[in-house]
């Protein structure tokens, strides 16, 4: 095992370590925490963010960002419902077509960023806005309850071996995404484009094509998350999943992926999502006011970032204190 692999492993392992530490602390704080039921529930509740994260991670890997995942998820739930319950299509066909629309949305995002050279931040921010409008328009702003088909509803709430199906979907997608990133030509190309686009291009990578695929992957996983969400909540609603894009980015960043491009860890993103899930679950179990959730998440982001930067936490605190001391002495 070579040095950087060790380092990578240590970063991943460190995340695992923090995760375990959180689990230990939480199990002391609440005796209800460390139960199979509860842990299953946490996974169940993070699966939407998890599914989105393992696909959206490619955008930061190539140095971009995708802020439109929330709106895509909401829209896809609505589209799937319209196809099934207005046009009466078979549920599988409906899902298939919805995924196709996801591909289209991702393609548009990718095309605008690459061919028109507009920063991904602006493109996907605008997409977030107009896709929300489209979702409103298609659903007429209604909060639609999806009562059937029953097979569709099983996706979200059904269980296999006592574990909800969305968790399987999340894990399958995560494994797939991990393999895609670490063991395929496309993964190598995405990392290369993020590390140095020009150099990648001169080495035979087509950066535009890579980027377009990246946004398609991101949109497709968001679509899958949207379908799972629609099934899980038995609801299609334009305001579903608003603000999820920030949770997704949080998970990705806690997982050690830099927004500058050139590296990324799917397992990290998944752990990041679960970590945020643990924080929320812990606060819920303790019956803390909801105002603590964003505070705790924000602090975890900062701590994770500082640690990913190679600072140990006590070291960082010491550094800060030292700085204050010098500032004092200068006065």
């Amino acid at each position: 095992m070579k040095a950087t692999n060790w380092r990578r492993l240590i970063v991943d392992f460190r995340l695992f370590g923090i995760l375990l530490l959180m689990m230990v602390v939480l199990s002391f704080v609440s005796d209800r925490f460390l139960t199979v039921d509860n842990l299953t529930n946490v996974l169940w509740s993070v699966c939407l963010i998890g599914i989105m994260s393992v696909g959206a991670i490619y955008a930061p890997i190539t140095g971009g960002i995708d802020l439109s995942v929330g709106s895509i998820a909401a829209l896809s739930g609505i589209v799937a419902n319209v196809l099934m319950n207005v046009y009466g299509l078979n549920w599988m066909l409906a899902i298939f077509i919805t995924l196709g629309i996801g591909v289209l949305i991702g393609w548009v995002n990718g095309m605008v960023t690459t061919k028109f050279l507009v920063p991904a931040f602006i493109v996907t921010m605008a997409a977030k806005t107009y896709l929300f409008g489209v979702a409103m328009l298609v659903s007429n702003g209604d909060q639609i309850t999806i009562m059937q088909p029953k097979e569709f509803l099983i996706i979200g709430v059904g269980k296999f071996l006592g574990i909800p199906i969305p968790i399987y979907i999340m894990i399958i997608l995560a494994v797939g995404s991990h393999i895609l990133l670490k063991h395929t030509v496309f993964g190598r190309q995405a990392i290369a484009v993020g590390a140095n686009e020009v150099s990648a291009k001169l080495s035979g990578v087509n950066p535009d094509r890579t980027r377009i695929i990246v946004y398609i992957i991101s949109a497709v996983t968001a679509t899958i998350a949207g379908i799972v969400m629609a099934s899980l909540t038995q609801q299609a609603f334009a305001m579903n999943a608003t603000g999820y894009e920030f949770d997704v980015i949080t998970a990705i960043v806690i997982g050690g992926t830099s927004l500058m491009g050139g590296n990324g860890s799917v397992t990290g993103a998944l752990i990041g999502a679960v970590m945020v899930g643990f924080i929320n679950n812990g606060l819920n179990l303790l019956d803390m006011p909801s105002s603590f959730h964003p505070i705790a998440t924000g602090l975890v982001i900062l701590i994770a970032l500082i640690m990913n930067q190679g600072f140990s936490l006590p070291g960082a605190v010491k550094k800060v204190l030292a700085r204050f001391r010098t500032a004092e002495s200068l006065k």
């Binding site: 806005t129 500058m260 964003p294 900062l302 930067q309």
Partner: protein, 334 residues
Amino acid sequence: MSVSAIRRLILVGLLISIGAALSIASPSFLTLDNLMTLLQEASLTGIVAIGFTLVLITAGIDMSIGAVIAITSMVCVNFISYTHLPAYVFIPIALAGGCLIGWVNGFFITYFKLPEFIVTLATRGILAGLALIAAVKDDQGFVKNVFIQDEVFLSFGETVGPVYIVTIVFFVLAFATQLFLKRTRAGTNVYATGANPTASRLSGINTDRTLIGVYMFSGFCAALASIFLSARMMTAMPDFGIGSEMDVIASVVIGGTPFTGGVGDIWGTVIGTLFLALIKNGILKLGLSPYIQPIVIGGIIVVTVIADVWYKGFAEKRATRIARQKQALAKEGV
């Protein structure tokens, strides 16, 4: 004429023609009341956008501005509810609070070399939570939104003649910031830091201090906007401004300040803000479905930026062609 000047001219032209079209389509558009409300709206976003423009010039981003608006309004309302301090005492304190938040952002960004987006996203969460905790509660512990009756504080929402004070402040602030950027050393440092941080450091610019200063100014602007917003609404809510980041970013980007840093100015932002406010106001007048609004706004952002990139590309090509011709002529001359 430079590229940015032509671009600005086009935007102003669009602004005027859309305004003219609206005046014809809806007689209620070209009324003093409506124009003043439009300006008031634009000014509230615009004040925040001025601070944000500086951040964008340094190639950074500040996602915490919305949360700064929320927490500042909470600070003010706490002063009003629980102390008898006059407004002219606690408003400076609240503004200083905005600066402090900016300092914290800048500190994490410069000292730990963390990406701006994530740091400010984290502070956004923390501040949003703190705003809820700081909110004034009733006897049962539920958040209570206080109806503000402090005369001095409310005077911030008043008008001078037909013009809202916030509009005057917006234009004064815009003018002052533009002067600062273009005509002071510190302002020059902001551009230099955004264009080439390494070179700036080598030239003796303290880029860390510049960055921290810029984030402090962004926090200050958001806090200032918050006071005008609270005064206008005569109340303060813990979710004030949260989500308005997108409008601010859109205004600045439409105004022509790119994400790449080193370029941009305040007049662009002023025009961008007016443009966005005009579109929003116009959509309301046209009796369109409310669902169309996000589609139009999203579309406009994309179209402006695409047009920008295209035009810049075209202008660059033209410039290189001219330069090449000139060079050829000069060489032949020798």
